[in-house]
């Protein structure tokens, strides 16, 4: 898994490339524990190059969303592929994580 962070004014774009599977979820969770201690920006996840998500990956998304919202920052997901969008929607995550078509949609 490759995590690439880019800064866009008050928005941190976190691009995750590869697989957010059982092992990948642990990696991302460890990264988030450091990066958001404490959170300082709104965050969007760029999922355009994410191929796979497991329930462990979903749990990481839930935890990151809670962590950011507790400190009054926004958390959203951009550019997810259709099969990943479907999993997010069936899980009801779209009710508390805004899903954008692209990073530029998220910026506007």
């Amino acid at each position: 898994m490759i995590i690439t962070v880019s800064q866009n004014n008050d928005l941190m774009v976190v691009a995750v490339e590869g697989r957010l599977d059982t092992a990948g979820a642990v990696e991302l969770e460890d990264w988030a524990d450091q990066a958001f201690d404490p959170p300082t920006y709104n965050v969007t996840m760029d999922f355009s190059r994410l191929d796979y998500i497991s329930s462990a990956g979903l749990r990481t998304m839930l935890n990151m969303s809670k962590l950011l919202k507790k400190e009054s920052f926004d958390f959203s997901i951009c550019s997810a592929q259709d099969h990943i969008l479907e999993v997010l929607e069936i899980s009801g995550f779209d009710s508390f994580i805004p899903l954008h078509n692209s990073v530029s949609d998220c910026l506007s």
Binding site: R19, T22, Y52, S54, D82, H83, G92, F96, I97
Partner: protein, 137 residues
Amino acid sequence: MKMVEKFQISNSLAGLDTLRVNLERIARTWALSGKQLFEINFLIEEICANSIEHTEPDAIDYVGISLSLEDAKFFISITDHGPQFDPTKTADPDVNLPAKERKAGGLGLYLVKHFADKISYARTDNTNTVTIEKKLK
């Protein structure tokens, strides 16, 4: 024509990587779409993740996986020697709850039940067998 693939993985994180490699090879051989590969991988990984969670770390064992395709239907069978665990009997999480009321757990098997057309469980000779049927779409 019926196509069958059988392999074993260890019930550990490394085993899930072996699973991915095997499924990517099978997907090429069987000409599966990206979405079909994703759903098959998801179904097996979530059942195995439960087996990994319910097995003591010093009791690493093998999970047997059999995957077949016949009459536009996938048949998946997953066997492990861990403690008795019936994934068809787990309570579904409430997917309408807001983030702060959500608890971890249950979501994987909830999604498994969503993606599978049929799922059954048997316990024989200290072995768990989960069988999943899924139409090729």
